[in-house]
Amino acid sequence: MREETASLEARLASGARLHEEEAQGLWELDLLTLGRWADLVRRRLHPEDRVTYVVDRNINYTNICTSGCRFCAFYRTQESPEGYVLEEDVLARKLVELKAQGGTGVLLQGGLNPDLPFAYYEELVRRIRGFGLGVHGFSPPEIAFMSRRFDLSLKEVLARLMEAGLTSIPGGGAEILVDRVRTQLSPRKGTSAQWLEVMAAAHELGLKTSATMMFGHLETRGERLEHLFKIRDLQDRTRGFLSFIPWTFQPGGTALGGEPLGAVEYLRTLAVSRLVLDNVPHLQVSWVTQGPKIAQVALKFGADDFGSTMLEENVVAATGVGFRLTQTEIETLVRQAGYEPRVRDHRYNLL
């Protein structure tokens, strides 16, 4: 081991924070060294041999979206015959099904659909809460869209949704928080500053959120780091991020196309995320994009959370990647890896 590598390892073991330059050097390390370091940090943050997950389903209230992102296979235009807004009875059926399976919450997201009034969103949250379920809902682009569309400040939108019962916010729509990438990938989705602004507003109002990163398309490794440091900086100020979820772009059925990233680069990026984001408590595996086997291995590369049972998932499924897991399968995967599976809610409270 080179001297500087050894000293960095010693610093990480003592809980020191990585500088940007040191973080760049992480990409030079071999996969297993990165994994070992990430595991070191994971064990410091989560000394108990436990892996959490949530019983929920994704509900996508509409697939009509004006954003037109090139990496997305899910959205439809306003004119498309395949566009939908979820019917009330369909929603109710989904919620009953979720309750029957012991679900505690819904991951609620949808397209930027100009046909919906603000009352629709409030009513949607109320209805789900009426079933005794939490609402982990509306990623920053949706909040920003509502703010523009209904001429409300971000905090007004958030406060009204909280009043309707919103419990936390998912970290979607972050993609890569570098505007060079965003202008090519999702020019109508808003800047990285806007994404961060929504999260800052939510945190200031006391809403907890997660953060994501979708990588493996147009971005460089340096831009992935830039993304991570933006999250870390905001977290230093607000402490509102509960978890970070990196996942790989799935090219099937998208305008962007190309080959998906492999498992090794996913695990490297996961480990780098754990090492850089020393102030974000949880790191989640993406079994929906990586499959059960790589997701299990990811538990040794810094991750401490298995995500959710996702009784329903539509967005990744639209790219043709079809991994599905039951609650029993998740628990088995976790146990095989030597951890105790524990059910949590969307705010990471153990149940």
Binding site: D30, G262, V264, K293, V297
Partner: protein, 364 residues
């Protein structure tokens, strides 16, 4: 600094042995299999891998031919074999086999990999003519054909010795033997799962007979069903002993059990931790085997790629038509292109090297 490589202190004595290039004991094998320190086990295997191959990772441009699934053995872990006349049973005619070979005559294939069942009635001349006919159409292509189980079956049907049978096949164009049919060399397991199948002694004897004739072979282990870790270690060490004697094994390929559509479909099949540990322990125990292969068709491209960091140096080939694993529910694609294989190898930090069957580098 050494302790930082491992979260499991039990790995430290093994680490010392690996550094000293000392042969590992059966107890070391068990320590490795039982260790919760997946990355530590991988780290050890990678030391040996780098010593042998640096960052090279091999792949082959090959074609698979499964000429028939008719089989007298009826092994419980198999979704491929059928009894003669059973629904789904098939046997290709020589003409069909040759058509499949000709269909890909424009491709730079260096190996045709031929495996089937233990057919009760096809005459020995069928196998000889198959090899001759393929060789006539693709004289440059290496024919890796017939597992030890098939060869022993043919010798019996033909009432000939193993050596004479192998010699006749070799004269017809046989280049080497694949490693299938070894399963697990445990009498207990075999009585439960494949009592009809060629015995461990028979399997090893056939492989060693081939080695003595100058034919290389591979070796496998089917894991993740009912075998114990002790039985896995025993299997690996039997192979190591055999290799000490005859030295003809080129690569070892652990085969992950796929339960779907088999008589054992109530089982789960091995976990990712088990897959990676089995590959890594194989690399560490089989110090006299040049290559450890992760057959991507079975593991999937993601796990095969990852295994390159856990002791593996070969991901097999650009297989285009494979039936045995796919009938057991493998979700993997039917073929990866050269560019895809090279890409996944490079992403793992390795240097892709196209090889032929005997691991000679091919100018791609």
């Amino acid at each position: 600094m050494a302790t930082l490589h491992f979260t499991d202190p039990a790995l430290l004595p093994v680490y010392e042995k690996v550094l000293e290039r000392e042969r590992l004991s059966p107890e070391d094998g068990l320590t490795l299999f039982k260790s919760p320190d997946l990355l530590g086990v991988g780290y050890l295997a990678n030391i040996v891998r780098e010593r042998l191959h640096g960052r090279k990772a091999f792949y082959i441009y090959n074609q698979h031919l499964n000429y028939s699934n008719v089989c007298v053995n009826g092994c419980k872990f198999c979704a491929f074999g059928k009894k003669a006349g059973e629904e789904g049973a098939y046997e290709m005619t020589l003409a069909e086999i040759f058509t499949k070979v000709e269909a890909r005559s424009g491709e730079p294939i260096t190996e045709i990999h031929i495996v089937g069942g233990c057919h009760p009635s096809l005459p020995f001349s069928f196998y000889v003519e198959m090899l001759q006919g393929i060789k006539a159409r693709r004289p440059q292509v290496h024919l890796q054909a017939f597992t030890a189980v098939e060869v022993a079956h043919l010798a019996e049907l033909n009432r000939a010795s193993l050596a004479d049978t192998l010699q006749a096949l070799r004269d017809a164009g046989l280049g080497s033997l694949p490693g299938g049919g070894a399963e697990v060399f445990s009498t207990r397991v075999r009585q439960a799962l494949c009592p009809q199948k060629l015995s461990p002694e028979g399997w090893l004897g056939t492989a060693q007979t081939a080695h003595r004739l100058g034919l290389n072979t591979n070796a496998t282990m089917l894991y993740g069903h009912m075998e114990t870790l002790e039985e896995r270690v025993d299997h690996l060490l039997k192979l190591r002993d055999a290799q000490d004697e005859t030295g003809g094994f080129l690569s070892f390929i652990p085969l992950a059990f796929h339960p779907q559509n088999t008589a054992l479909d109530h089982l789960q099949g091995p976990s990712a931790f088990d897959d990676l540990k089995t590959l890594a322990v194989s690399r560490l125990l089989l110090d006299n085997f040049p290559h450890i292969k992760a057959f991507w068709i079975m593991l999937g491209p993601k796990m095969a790629q990852l295994s390159l960091c856990f002791g593996v140096d070969d991901v097999d080939g650009t297989v285009m038509e494979e039936r045995i694993t796919h009938m057991a529910g493998a979700q993997t694609p039917q073929g990866l292109t050269r560019a895809q294989l090279q890409g996944l190898i490079r992403e793992a930090g390795c240097q892709p090297v196209e090889r032929d069957t005997l691991y000679r580098e091919v100018a791609a």
